[in-house]
Symmetry: C2
Subunit: 180 residues, 2 copies
């Protein structure tokens, strides 16, 4: 991702949050995380994040997804004898379609990203509109995509350790590289 | 608290949340918690709460304070060898003045509730406006009061076990009794 795309995504994410009534400090706005996951197709696969707090016991973030943007399939495994990260996703604005392990939907609302089709393997569908939420157990494969309006999702969870996340797509790198 | 006062507080809290851009499901709105703490002076001491999730690992709530309303001083002690509840308060709308252990402010912005004056003992002041947040360590005395516009505060924390909270005022009962 180049610096222009990174900055544009930060500004757009801030606008989306503002429209959802969510206020950031200037410092938080300047540090909105833009994650393209090393795939370099942010509009299709990636997300924008603000981490409010992440300590040994709990974590809270806002996730921003632009229209149709997808967070690729991954799971949070047990680490050092601790159960994997458990997450509650609460939709704040727009609509998000969440896919987890379990009975697959006969047809799904999301459009699986074409270039990575092989790396989407779970299709139990949960659609979340504002005020609706879902809790994902530890070590459970999941991925999610925003509907046509995009989405803001609050994530409440146990401690977040991104470096331990296991993505189904082996090409994914959690750390974003911005080229100047 | 009588049923009329309880219902009115629920409706008012829902309006405040709506104005802050926070959407509840009908089920959540019907179960907004109105806590008068057994003191029967809700406008002065009490608060309104929506608990989104509370499990063994983490908890997330919205707290609503009407203008000038105060959550009385308390702490979250260690229980069964586990450290006490740790909380991050993030102001979403309005203004809240938070008081914790530490260097007392020379003069404080809040008005200490007259009838319970003896039970407010910590005066280190943190003022939070939208987008600002503060993390309270476990087992630390704290209380908070909304400014003249009221406040919505998101609380991110470790597991919540209200029954273990220790209030400085021995008259306080955490469970609300609504009389028909």
């Amino acid at each position: 991702m180049d610096l222009g795309e990174f900055k544009a995504a930060q500004e757009r994410a801030q606008d989306v949050l503002r429209s959802a009534g969510i206020v950031l400090t200037d410092e938080e706005a300047a540090h909105i995380e833009v994650a393209d996951l090393g795939l370099n197709r942010l509009a299709v696969e990636g997300l924008e994040l603000v981490t409010y707090i992440n300590n040994d016991r709990y974590c809270a973030k806002e996730l921003v997804l632009f229209p149709g943007q997808t967070c690729p399939e991954h799971r949070h495994p047990a680490v050092n004898g601790q159960p994997g990260k458990q997450e509650t996703f609460r939709c704040r604005s727009g609509e998000v379609w969440l896919y987890v392990e379990g009975e697959p939907a006969p047809s799904i609302r999301a459009k699986v990203p074409e270039a990575s089709k092989a790396y989407y393997t779970v299709f139990h569908e949960i659609a979340l509109r504002p005020g609706e939420q879902y809790t994902i157990p530890p070590d459970t494969l999941h991925w999610f995509q925003a509907g046509p309006e995009g989405a803001v999702v609050s994530e409440f969870s146990s401690r977040s350790t991104d470096e331990n996340d296991i993505f189904t797509n082996p090409e994914i790198r959690r750390e974003t590289v911005v080229e100047n």
